[in-house]
């Protein structure tokens, strides 16, 4: 089997691992906001690195799909979201929730199957819920949440609220028919849904060129006449700018939007290994280059260059995050398991199980 095929490219150098490695262009941006973004991404990164370690050690019993390397997308998008919005994720969604401010201690507890978890220990890594922060659920059936996001957006319209929905999905998910139906439905109903496609060029072990005739999923936005933007997903500012425009459009009655953010995951499809991806060896050189296109390093370097951030501040932030991650983890480890009754009492939410 060949690992890649020659297909038409609309992404150009956006998918070139060696491109876009330089510091971000930040002139004229609010430094406070930039540091916030840096912090969000670092938190995400460190939480997931911790999860990778714990999974390797076997402390975590179930699969974890980590987004290390892709942090800029959720960080950039979430900047424009409100707690009244409705965000839907998928199998790789820890960082989607974290970017909304979800408590990582509750995330840890959930991943460990504890009663104090985001989903009361009933969901684990692949089923996260944080309604107070607008996180309306992530599940691992590929494409499964996409029409739900459209429905939640339709609800917002009927409720005469200016809430919007965000649907995070991958390039692989774009092969599910339901995604195409959902794009059309959102368009026809003018449901304020922003589809965020994290195009990391892979669906588990399969490169996009083995699954689709062209590398950009924005083709589907064109087909459904949905306004779209295609950006470097490792540039948090490019993501934020585009997301800001699409979210504003949706919020103000302009209907759905589509954001394709090109990125790469540093680890394999599932769990902690970087070198293999569900049984198939990855290109070492691609991986090396993409690690140089690190969304965190690029923002950090830019901030350092203009004196808005220093090595000391960085170390300090890292230390602080690391401590709170460790503390949260040991707390989560000590937390109680769900009671036996949980197995049956949550089958129907109307039975007052929550």
């Amino acid at each position: 089997m060949e690992n890649e095929r020659d297909i038409g490219s609309m992404l150009g150098d956006l998918k070139d691992p060696g491109a876009y490695q330089t510091p971000l262009e930040i002139s004229g941006r609010d430094p406070g906001l930039l540091v916030d973004l840096l912090r969000t991404m670092m938190l995400s990164r460190m939480v997931e690195e911790h999860l990778a370690d714990q999974r390797r050690e076997g402390t975590i019993g179930g699969p974890v799909h980590l987004g290390i390397g892709q942090e800029a997308i959720a960080a950039g998008v979430s900047q424009f979201l409100r707690s009244s919005d409705r965000v839907f994720g998928a199998h790789r969604s820890h960082y989607h929730a974290l970017a909304l401010g979800t408590d990582f201690k509750a995330l840890f507890a959930e991943i460990l199957g504890k009663e104090t978890g985001l989903s009361k220990g009933m969901g684990g890594s692949m089923h996260l819920w944080d309604e107070p922060r607008g996180f309306y659920g992530s599940v691992p059936i590929v494409g499964g949440t996409v029409p739900l996001a459209v429905g939640a957006a339709l609800a917002a319209k009927l409720q005469a609220s200016d809430a919007i929905s965000v649907s995070y999905l991958g390039d692989g998910a774009c092969e599910e028919g339901v995604v195409h139906e959902s794009l059309n439905l959102a368009r026809v109903l003018d449901a304020p849904t922003v589809f965020v496609v994290e195009n990391n060029l892979f669906s588990s072990h399969m490169h996009i060129s083995l699954r689709q005739p062209s590398d950009s999923t924005a083709r589907f936005a064109v087909a459904h006449e949905i306004p779209f933007e295609v950006v470097d997903g490792n540039d948090v500012l490019a993501v934020a700018d585009a997301a800001g425009r699409l979210i504003e459009q949706a919020r103000s009655g302009g209907g759905p939007g589509f954001l394709e953010a090109v990125t790469y995951r540093w680890l394999g499809h599932v769990d902690w290994r970087a070198d293999i991806d569900v049984g198939v060896a990855r290109s070492e050189s691609d991986l090396k280059q993409w690690r140089l296109r690190d969304p965190i390093a690029r923002l950090r370097a830019a901030l350092e260059a203009v004196g808005q951030w220093s090595l000391e501040e960085d170390k300090e932030l890292e230390r602080e995050l690391s401590e709170s991650i460790e503390a949260a983890w040991s707390q989560a480890m000590d937390d109680p398991w769900p009671s036996d009754e949980a197995l049956l009492k949550h089958v129907y939410s109307s039975e007052g199980g929550a």
Partner: protein
């Protein structure tokens, strides 16, 4: 009762929608054919004109996305009803119903309320054949997390619809085109709590228990009249809510009569009638049984189109009568 009008089953469903849409701003309806009254019989006539096309939405031919949108809207506080003019079309929509709606409460520890109602119409006969005639209620009853409702009377057609939509859990509401002309009186609408609704005894009897739901309840009732004339007294049970199933009344009745015929309009293997027999096998002491239990169901074949075969395919009153007779004779 000056306000008590005679209704038919189809217009009783419409009355349920009318009630819901006028009383509850969070109710809306979507599905194929909602701007064309023809598709769904008389069960939704003019609702789009009264409540507006924003709340009564005719959709693209996209069963899965539309059903998923219903689930998503319910999570966001609405009470949507997604209408499928034939259950057959719902085969495209099962991810939204089974992987999503049925599981979101459990997976999120009871915090998500996927209170969507999916209305699927059993629309068989008329030489329409295998892809336009299915009755898949047993499938939905197999899935934990769903409530599955099959009204058999005019009042239930309206009041169980209201109860389904007002319930916070996902409900598959299944009505049957063969019941649309059934007549009955309709008292004022009731807001029943779906969680407390279950089987009822619609005829009391002593010799044999007939268990049915939806259209099969009509067969059972009419068969019981024929059988009574032959001196066989039937206890007829209408299940009404087939999932979660409360088997107590079935068990109690069969313990009393010692005989069971389970009638179901779906297929035989792993179907609702199997479940009824299984409950009896599990809970009625064999010593109380006077005969083997019997199932009256579709044969395990797809629906034919030719009228010559349709006649054979669907169960009739005679089939129920014959089953009951053999059961009693067999005593």
């Amino acid at each position: 009762m000056p306000h008590m009008k005679e209704y038919d089953y189809g217009s009783a469903i419409r009355a349920g929608f009318d009630y819901l849409l006028s009383e509850y701003p969070e109710v809306f309806v979507m599905g194929q054919g909602l701007w064309s009254p023809w598709y769904v019989g008389n069960s939704m006539t003019d609702l789009d004109k009264i409540y507006g096309t924003d709340r009564v939405i005719d959709t693209p031919v996209s069963e899965l996305a539309c059903t998923g949108a219903g689930v998503g809207a319910s999570l966001a506080g609405m009470r949507p009803v997604v209408v499928h003019p034939r259950i057959d079309f719902m085969l495209y929509a099962l991810d939204a119903i089974v992987n999503q709606a049925a599981k979101w409460s459990h997976m999120f520890g009871g915090q998500a309320h996927p209170g969507v109602t999916v209305r699927g119409i059993i629309n068989r006969g008329g030489e329409q054949g295998a892809q336009h005639s299915q009755a898949l209620h047993s499938w939905f009853a197999h899935i934990p997390g769903l409530r599955v409702v099959m009204p058999a009377t005019v009042a239930d057609a309206r009041d169980l619809l209201i109860a389904s939509v007002l319930c916070d859990d996902p409900v598959v509401f299944i009505d049957d085109r063969w019941l649309y002309d059934l007549k009955g009186e309709l008292p004022a609408p009731q807001e029943l709590d779906l969680r407390t609704q279950g089987p009822v005894v619609v005829e009391e009897g002593v010799d044999i228990t007939l268990v049915a739901s939806g259209y099969s309840t009509q067969l059972a009732r009419e068969a019981s009249e024929v059988l009574l004339e032959e001196g066989i007294s039937c206890e007829v049970l209408d299940l009404r809510v087939i999932a979660p199933l409360d088997p107590a009344m079935v068990i109690q009745s069969v313990a009393k009569t010692g005989r069971l015929v389970a009638i179901d309009g779906g297929w035989r293997t792993c179907g609702l009638a199997s479940e009824i027999l299984a409950q009896v096998a599990e809970h009625v002491p064999p010593s109380l049984l006077k005969a083997n239990c019997v199932r009256v169901t579709l044969p395990d074949a797809p629906a034919p189109t030719s009228r010559a075969l349709e006649r054979l395919y669907y169960s009739s009153i005679d089939d129920v009568v014959a089953a009951a007779r053999s059961c009693v004779g067999n005593a």
